[in-house]
């Protein structure tokens, strides 16, 4: 076991598409001898790009401002771990610093796109009645999954008993609302942390950002802002799937 471990460690990649890539690039380099092989490898490996899917352009501060993403809750509801992301309080209402939100949002989108590109399953989670159907519709539209109903405690931790047969868990969870309808932390966040599933979550000024792997500090109660996030996530998943299809076709 240790032998295979050390042998696989340096160059082997899990993803078949990436492995195909390397052979493809090597073939290319044989036909076109002008370019350096190492340069091409660096150019072509998706993880070596800072923005392989060009998802960072999807987020703009102005649109977020117009979508009311900067409004937080009353200062008495503030979670103390959210203070680094706040701009200040105006008339006792917390205002979120969107200049800090935008890079975090871009990083989260990049990770989401990479997971989708590698064939991972994404689960969109929300417990907000107002936008529940929108989330489900969006997830269905892009070919991913959504969980917007009451969270049974065993959905992740006791899947086989609840579903009845072995089930594959998602590779990434996107929380559009990281609280339950009773303004408590969403139990799915803890379950994801237990079962080694990374999470992307929109955290308002009253949410706990500690267990969210890629937190996005922004307003999660306004209809306009939720619609905006859904649009951005949808475009990201579409871009990543398109890229995956293009790259697979290019290899054939």
């Amino acid at each position: 076991m240790s032998g295979s471990h050390s042998r696989n460690l340096p160059a082997f990649r899990l993803l078949s598409t990436t492995r195909k890539y390397l052979s493809n690039i090597l073939n290319l380099s044989q036909s076109n001898e002008s370019g350096n092989v190492n340069d091409r490898l660096q150019q072509q490996d998706p993880l070596d790009h800072q923005d392989y899917f060009q998802v960072r352009d999807l987020v703009s501060l102005e649109t977020m401002f117009e979508s009311q993403c900067h409004y937080g809750h009353h200062q008495d509801c503030r979670n103390e771990y959210m203070t680094p992301y706040l701009f200040g309080t105006r008339c006792n209402i917390d205002i979120i610093d969107l200049e800090k939100t935008v890079p975090l949002f871009q990083d989260a989108l990049n990770v989401l796109a990479h997971v989708v590109y590698r064939g991972g399953i994404v689960l969109f989670v929300s417990r907000q009645k107002m936008t529940m159907h929108r989330v489900e519709h969006m997830a269905k539209h892009v070919g991913e999954f959504a969980h917007c109903r009451q969270w049974n405690s065993g959905v992740f931790t006791n899947t086989e008993q609840i579903v009845g047969f072995p089930t594959r868990l998602p590779d990434l969870c996107v929380f559009l609302h990281s609280q339950t309808s009773a303004v408590m932390p969403h139990p799915g966040l803890v379950d994801c942390a237990k079962l080694l599933i990374p999470t992307i979550g929109i955290v308002d000024s009253n949410c706990d950002p500690r267990l969210v792997s890629y937190p996005i500090p922004a307003n999660d109660d306004s209809f306009l802002s939720i619609i905006y996030y859904l649009k951005v996530f949808e475009n990201t998943v579409k871009l990543a799937k398109q890229k995956r299809q293009d790259d697979l076709l290019a290899e054939k």
């Binding site: 899990l14 701009f87 200040g88 105006r90 792997s213």
Partner: protein, 155 residues
């Protein structure tokens, strides 16, 4: 993988726990989770672990110099018109905002607040708009008392 992983979510991050499994060879490198390479390349800005110190950040109050004018307007005038409507995409300025801007333009070091208020009111009346004063007007009383003081000083 899920069976091998520790279900204690309070210690470390999910990345560190998977890394530990790989180091101890409980999890083979080829069986590592799909997100592992992505996290390694693009780690979160802040480590998402539950046991971390509370950030010692002071949240400031957002205040502007012209907030004094806004507060004074609340005392002097009746509330008329729309303050702010979140649902419309109207990007014009509200009547109160126009008043504040006019105040900032007209104010000078020598003028008292009451005089600038009267000037701004006249400007708006010339345009056909008016601000309705409250019955118990704070500014009006101040105006009446000022000349008396000056007279008493002269005598």
């Amino acid at each position: 993988m899920t069976m091998a992983g520790s279900r204690v979510h309070r210690h470390g991050t999910i990345y560190k726990r998977v890394e530990g499994l790989i180091k101890s060879e409980a999890l083979q490198w080829k069986d590592r989770p799909l997100w592992f390479d992505i996290w390694k390349k693009f780690p979160p800005q802040v480590e998402p672990k539950e046991d971390r110190p509370v950030p010692n950040v002071h949240v400031r109050k957002i205040l502007y110099p012209e907030d004094m004018v806004r507060a004074k307007m609340q005392e002097v005038y009746e509330v008329t018109g729309t303050v702010k409507n979140l649902r419309t995409k109207w990007k014009g300025k509200s009547k109160n905002q126009l008043f504040v801007e006019e105040y900032v333009r007209l104010q000078k070091p020598g003028l008292s607040v009451a005089e600038v208020f009267r000037q701004v009111e006249q400007e708006f009346r010339a345009r056909g708009q008016q601000f309705i004063r409250k019955p118990k007007n704070v500014l009006h009383n101040a105006e009446e008392t000022e000349p008396q003081n000056e007279e008493s000083k002269k005598s």
